[in-house]
Symmetry: C2
Subunit: 270 residues, 2 copies
Amino acid sequence: MRIDVVAPSCPLKRDAAERVSAIVAERGDCELIIHPQCFLSAGHFAGPDDARLAALREVMADPSVDVVWIARGGYGSNRIAEAAAADLPAAASGKAYLGYSDAGFLHAAFHKAGLDVAWGPMPQDVLRSGGEAAVQRALDWMVRRDPATLEPGLGGPAMAFNLTVLSNLLGTPLEPDFDGVDLLVEDIGEQLYRTDRTMFHVTASENIRKVRRLRLGRVSDILPNDPDFAVDEAAIVEHWCKRSGIPFGGRADIGHDAQNKIVPFTRGNR
Amino acid sequence: MRIDVVAPSCPLKRDAAERVSAIVAERGDCELIIHPQCFLSAGHFAGPDDARLAALREVMADPSVDVVWIARGGYGSNRIAEAAAADLPAAASGKAYLGYSDAGFLHAAFHKAGLDVAWGPMPQDVLRSGGEAAVQRALDWMVRRDPATLEPGLGGPAMAFNLTVLSNLLGTPLEPDFDGVDLLVEDIGEQLYRTDRTMFHVTASENIRKVRRLRLGRVSDILPNDPDFAVDEAAIVEHWCKRSGIPFGGRADIGHDAQNKIVPFTRGNR
């Protein structure tokens, strides 16, 4: 089992890389290779677009790589996602792609292209409070597909996205087919008026309206709303589900935190 | 000339209403009626959705109203825009609709429905530094269509939107036809990584790619980006225009400020 880490958005912190490498060494059940591209820096990004794309394409094309593990979120994978999913090398299939948050742009494009992607913890999560458990969970899934690592409400085809990322990929070439899936969403660092506006946008999509149901993960680090928004994130999501005819499936065990569970993307009705 | 003010998103401040009323009284060239709905409050909004919609529909249907002047931005007009543009009363035509920012959701739907909308200053702008000039400019346009109030680069069909609002209305029933228009955008209060992400989203739209050119207004109150984004808002917009084949038309004289000019929406190639 070989796991390669690349950073399609922002740079991986050195101490995160060291701590995750130590965890893997102690486990002894897999090989972890952190691509040097993870430590590049170019403004906001872990190197220029072409360097991030080249590292990602390199590990995708390598038949000895079992899992491509996205180093962290941030912002930037959208800038290379379409190119990363084009003209796929044969070895891009038969491996898993794990990450969340900004990595959703890649997840969408890769899932659409027929690759096996999953929502779940990333190496940089080791720096969170309790983050070692998140990394162990990701490794338990990557190495032995441990069912205990999965989001507990999964009962059929599913996808998971950061809500703001999802909003920003609708209408782009990255947009996958949502027909018949459980759609799990979460968010972080937004005012509730933005969550309301994003739900308006997302639930207006005819493609999104084909989901089997929508479930809400954690919405964390909510920024102050002036004045108070008066209703909470669950009421917002239920409101827009009701207005758009999407069944609301309750809460989901995902979020920008150490408790974040794994959601392997699976196909719906098509 | 009768101008009616309604608040489809957030409440109008009392002192703004008083100051704008005083300006109008001193001018003596128009009648200003501030709908009592402007001062309602329900959480984030100027009253519940049905109250905001009812006030808007009331002034739209009134043949004695020459201009519907949106009180202010904020957030919330998207929640009532589709209903506001449905089954239009006869008197909804033959009047102008003026506002900007969040009012873009109404502008999109109303323009699509064949009504005459314009981007421009709103009553609450009187509270800005130098805001009286913005209000006088709006009145000069409403009362006598003074050409000096217009965005100086207009040379054909045009529309103007807050970039984040535009991103959130793409793919919704509000989305108008952008074919052949000059599209002017501006933004406020975003990190540059968000501006980059929003430009990715907006310029991926096949509809947006039909614009004659895209011009950039002011991007103000930019929030800190960690790390520094390395390029500025103009470079971001040029980058995405280039990637998507949209001609970049340079800067535009609009923004969330007292200098904000008028952009009457006009039709493009269709």
